[in-house]
Assembly symmetry: C2
Homo-oligomer: 442 residues x 2
């Protein structure tokens, strides 16, 4: 039973299907790992061992009794604690929602259960998925932040507590913690995954994402979670991209990468600059550098205008009921959001299609954009780090991946972000696999 | 050739197909009628007789040479002068756009041309499709308004100048002029007809609509114009409702009507109150009265918040470039719109689905809502009349029809408005035909 907790989700599901071990043994291995490391990492907001094991035994009974087995059959998954679950509390990282029972499963949770997953528990989120940190620490160094807002999900996957965990991103809340914790993180294109049953902060920007220790697992979960849902009117009525099939393919031509330096380039530290330069060197002719300057400089302001205006709308009840129980930072954000005019808000929204059109031209010549995932490795506890390298891709709704392939001189993980054309998520994964192989061979 | 100008579009298209007359003769009859009455009515902003006749002759050549003929082959249509046309100016009712050539056809114009229609010319709109009146007068009494903002389109159809004309509605700009001019007017469900290439004032509320002298013609045009268009992301990816087929059917059961009195009921004059009471009496058991009071009282405020906030956004260029050339009324509206907060705006938008859900319950028991189209018959020139009886249906995006079946004691037309369930447009037309027959038999 040793090391089951470090298996990939794909291998774990295969092992259960093949009868090499069962879902209960896998769940036990993950729970044992949690017992060993949770004191240090503190990734979990809600964990009921008996309930987790009962789910695992039910999946084992499915197999014994010849019932249908889904692609995640018996695989433990962690959920950021803003994702509603019928059978566990969902407390949204705020005392205002302490003990909250949602009375329903979010759309993604229903899909996970249909695929056979074991919902292991709920992971720590920052306050209402914004900036004020929760209790979680970086598994690589407990004096540092795991990043946020999907803090517990990233840390749990990195610490070997669970092979898969769901988070959400509105600014940099998947890619940044993935980078700081050294795991794969994926934020799909806007509209691919339903947000029904998940705390709303920003209709325009909120996006479900997830963490894993390999690209196969990212694709496995994508195949299970994407799809139109009329309860989230922003999901698109399109077929799920062929993630698994494309990830298994060789690209017809070696992919081409654009190393994009935005006006925020200077926010990254020297180690990040050097690491990106080395990646570009390894890629040689397959990589071209672009400085995109003035045309996007205001995008960070557009993002803030939209995010804060929509947060003020979506968190109106919390503001009215318990403003004084919110962090000062969040109070300030909501106050600013309440002052945004409808004119500024609409003007900022109108920039998004223009931004996408601009990048679409780039994607006629390149398969993916290469960019830092964060300004550097994880900063000390307190802050959850700066999302500045994620903002542009959250705003434009383009798919983004963190590849945990770089390290700082002290061996802390550093993220490499890969961004794809909106809607072309499967190709992004295929390019990422090619890139990872190329860098590992170098 | 006498009286061709008074033919319905359906009969005119049939006559041309059958060779009873040709498109040129029909266009000549309409142009002759315009020559006789335009001095008094002033419905047209742009009319190039030679260009109109050239289109008609081209359609006649199609027939002679055996080319495909569309359902509107050879039928003259007028377009509100905010609908872009490649071959005519589109001046939007403001000196700021004088001489403007759009360089494209709006999506609905392309559909009209594909259906074989002859674009006769552009009809007078109020200033930027808002409130400040244009030159058009009511064909039934030149001292009165034709209503607005689709003033020229309603008046042209009423005066026998053209069998069909397109307008738009953001508050009451199709139903109100239809009522004042005594013609059928139809505002489809939100999302049925593309607004690509039409002046934008409010993304949420703007809606294409049209005028005709009979329900068959309303349906004929609906069948030609509805459909998804990716250039208007708010059009719905659904098949065009079966307008013509359902209009030809008998309802399986006699339709039931809800005479809905909103908090605005008192805005209507005594003649309107009496006329609605008489309609209810004729319908007997098929009609039930409802007072919907407090639950919708704020809806007129929500509508104003959304409309003015979105106008401020969409008319930003006009505000910046030529604020002093806008009417005082519009300047005031835009100033108010600029002051709306994003929070109020989003809260007002969030009311729309709640409103629709409420009415959906009513539509489980009733086929259509009966309500006045306007507070009374057309007021004197100056104002374009009060849209207060249209606001709720524009806000909720429900389909609405004006039936020109009522008259004031001085014989001026009075509108009867029929409102259907959102998306159930074809049933609304079928119910309207049943109602018209019942009232005409009484």
């Amino acid at each position: 039973m040793t090391q089951l907790e470090w298996l990939s989700a794909s291998d774990a599901a295969q092992g259960i299907r093949d009868g090499l071990f069962d879902a209960e043994q896998l769940a036990q291995a993950c729970l044992e790992r949690i017992r060993q490391t949770e004191d240090q990492v503190q990734a979990w907001q809600h964990l009921d061992e008996a309930h987790a094991l009962a789910q695992a035994r039910a999946r084992d009974a499915d197999r014994r009794e010849g019932r249908a087995m889904g692609p995640l059959h018996g695989v433990p998954v962690g959920l950021k604690d803003i994702i509603d679950t019928l059978d566990m509390p969902t407390e949204d990282g705020t005392v205002l929602h302490a003990g909250r029972m949602a009375g329903r499963d979010a759309a993604v949770v229903a899909k996970l259960r249909a695929a056979g997953a074991v919902i292991l528990g709920k992971t720590v989120t920052t306050e209402l998925a914004t900036y004020a940190a929760g209790k979680t620490r970086n598994p690589h160094d407990p004096s540092r932040t795991p990043g946020g807002s999907s803090s517990g999900s990233a840390a749990a996957v990195a610490a070997g507590m669970v092979p898969l965990a769901l988070g959400t991103q509105t600014n940099g809340s998947v890619i940044r913690p993935a980078a700081f914790c050294g795991v794969y993180g994926y934020k799909p294109s806007t509209g691919l995954v339903s947000r029904h049953g998940i705390l709303k902060t920003s209709r325009t920007l909120d996006c479900v994402g997830w963490f894993a220790r390999g690209l196969d697992d990212i694709a496995l979960l994508a195949q299970a979670l994407c799809g139109h849902d009329e309860r989230d009117p922003d999901t698109r009525a399109m077929a799920c991209p062929p993630f698994l099939r494309m990830l298994a393919e060789e690209p017809p031509l070696p992919p081409r990468f654009a190393l994009v330096k935005t006006p925020m380039w200077g926010h990254a530290d020297a180690a990040t600059h050097e690491a990106l330069a080395e990646v570009a060197e390894v890629l040689g002719e397959q990589c071209e550098e672009f400085n995109i300057g003035e045309s996007v400089r205001a995008a960070w302001d557009w993002h803030r205008t939209i995010m804060e205006a929509e947060m003020a709308f979506n968190l109106e009840a919390e503001w009215t009921r318990g403003r004084d129980q919110l962090s000062t930072l969040l109070q300030q954000q909501l106050q600013r959001g309440r002052e945004v005019t409808a004119l500024d808000y609409q003007q900022s929204l109108a920039r998004i299609p223009q931004l996408i059109d601009g990048f679409d031209e780039l994607f006629q010549r390149f398969d993916a954009i290469l960019t830092p995932a964060a300004p550097g490795s994880a900063p000390p506890l307190g802050s959850t780090g700066d999302p500045v390298f994620c903002t542009l891709w959250s705003l434009s709704g383009m798919p983004a991946l963190n590849l945990p392939l770089l390290h700082a001189s002290d061996n802390m993980p550093m993220g490499l972000q890969l961004v794809g054309r909106r809607g072309d998520d499967a190709r992004l994964l295929r390019s990422a696999r090619w890139l990872a192989a190329r860098l590992q061979a170098a």
